[in-house]
């Protein structure tokens, strides 16, 4: 009973907040509506018995959205939404596409012969996840690690304005920094 109520509250909140993301004029509000929606997703995951992943989703989404808000404010012409304007293209076509996709997904969900539940959840799903990632799913874990590392390098290269010549001048072997800005060895 209680779990049913929790499910419905979180589900309605997640969907409502998700819709509001694209209806708010203020970028800060849109970002935090998205955070609300994703926190509800984390709540649903907790409800399904995945304690660790649910809390991790809460943790990661909070941090992500806090940083996202900075970029939202930085790159939108009208971050506080004091002068409302629409920045959308092809809203009707997109709405039609989304309705069709949803209808197709819903039909699939309702008509598919879902298999019976096999087995029982382990006593400690967190441990099962860890054993799996460090055992049979090791390759997945390593790929994720490599992807994250590549992301760190790639984003820094893309986002920084300064190259190494800007920092060290023509003499790359020199140990003093000539260019402006921060970084180690300033």
């Amino acid at each position: 009973m209680l779990t049913d109520v929790t499910f419905w509250v979180l589900a309605v909140l997640a969907i409502a907040a998700g819709v509001m993301v694209f209806r708010f004029d203020s970028m800060a509000r849109a970002t935090y509506a998205l955070l609300t929606s994703l926190l509800c997703v984390g709540g649903e995951v907790l409800l399904l018995g995945l304690d660790y992943l649910g809390v991790v989703i809460v943790l990661m989404m909070t941090i992500e959205m806090a940083i996202m808000a900075v970029f939202m404010v930085m790159y939108m012409m009208n971050p506080a939404g004091l002068m409302p304007m629409t920045m959308v293209h092809n809203a009707k076509g997109a709405a039609a596409i989304c309705l069709v996709v949803f209808a197709a997904l819903a039909t699939g969900i309702l008509l598919a012969p879902w298999p019976e539940r096999r087995g029982k959840p382990p006593a400690d799903p967190t441990k099962a996840l860890g054993m799996s990632l460090m055992g049979p799913q090791m390759l997945t874990m390593m790929t994720l690690g490599m992807a994250l590392f590549a992301t760190i390098v790639g984003t820094v290269v893309l986002a920084t304005r300064r190259g190494r010549y800007d920092r060290f001048g023509d003499d790359l072997g020199g140990d003093h920094v000539v260019g402006p800005g921060g970084g180690a060895g300033r």
Partner: protein, 101 residues
């Protein structure tokens, strides 16, 4: 609570996100749509783990992957926006498309 309900919730979140990703002109808003789609994916994966195969950890691994993809997507997206904006003062998809010409 049943598998169907959770999957319907997942589909709804996915479609709202899809709508955002298709309509929004601002690249940052587009990314918010993508995040919402991945949120739907997470709900779906958790539901399938719980209702179909709780004994295997594969559903959990899928969630880990989805969360990582969200982080990577955001980091790369912001880096690309920053690079685009530095180079051309562009922060809208339609304007980025015109750069071709």
């Amino acid at each position: 609570m049943s598998l169907e309900l959770f999957l319907l919730l997942a589909a709804a979140l996915f479609c709202i996100g899809l709508f955002g990703a298709l309509t929004q002109q601002s690249i940052v808003m587009l990314m918010m749509g993508l995040e919402l789609m991945l949120g739907g994916l997470i709900v779906g994966a958790a539901a399938v783990w719980h209702f179909i195969a709780p004994a295997a950890a594969d559903g959990q691994v899928l969630i880990v992957i989805a969360v990582t993809v969200m982080a990577v997507e955001m980091a790369v997206g912001f880096a690309v926006i920053t690079a685009l904006f530095r180079a051309r003062e562009v922060d809208i998809t339609d304007m980025a498309a015109e750069l071709r010409e």
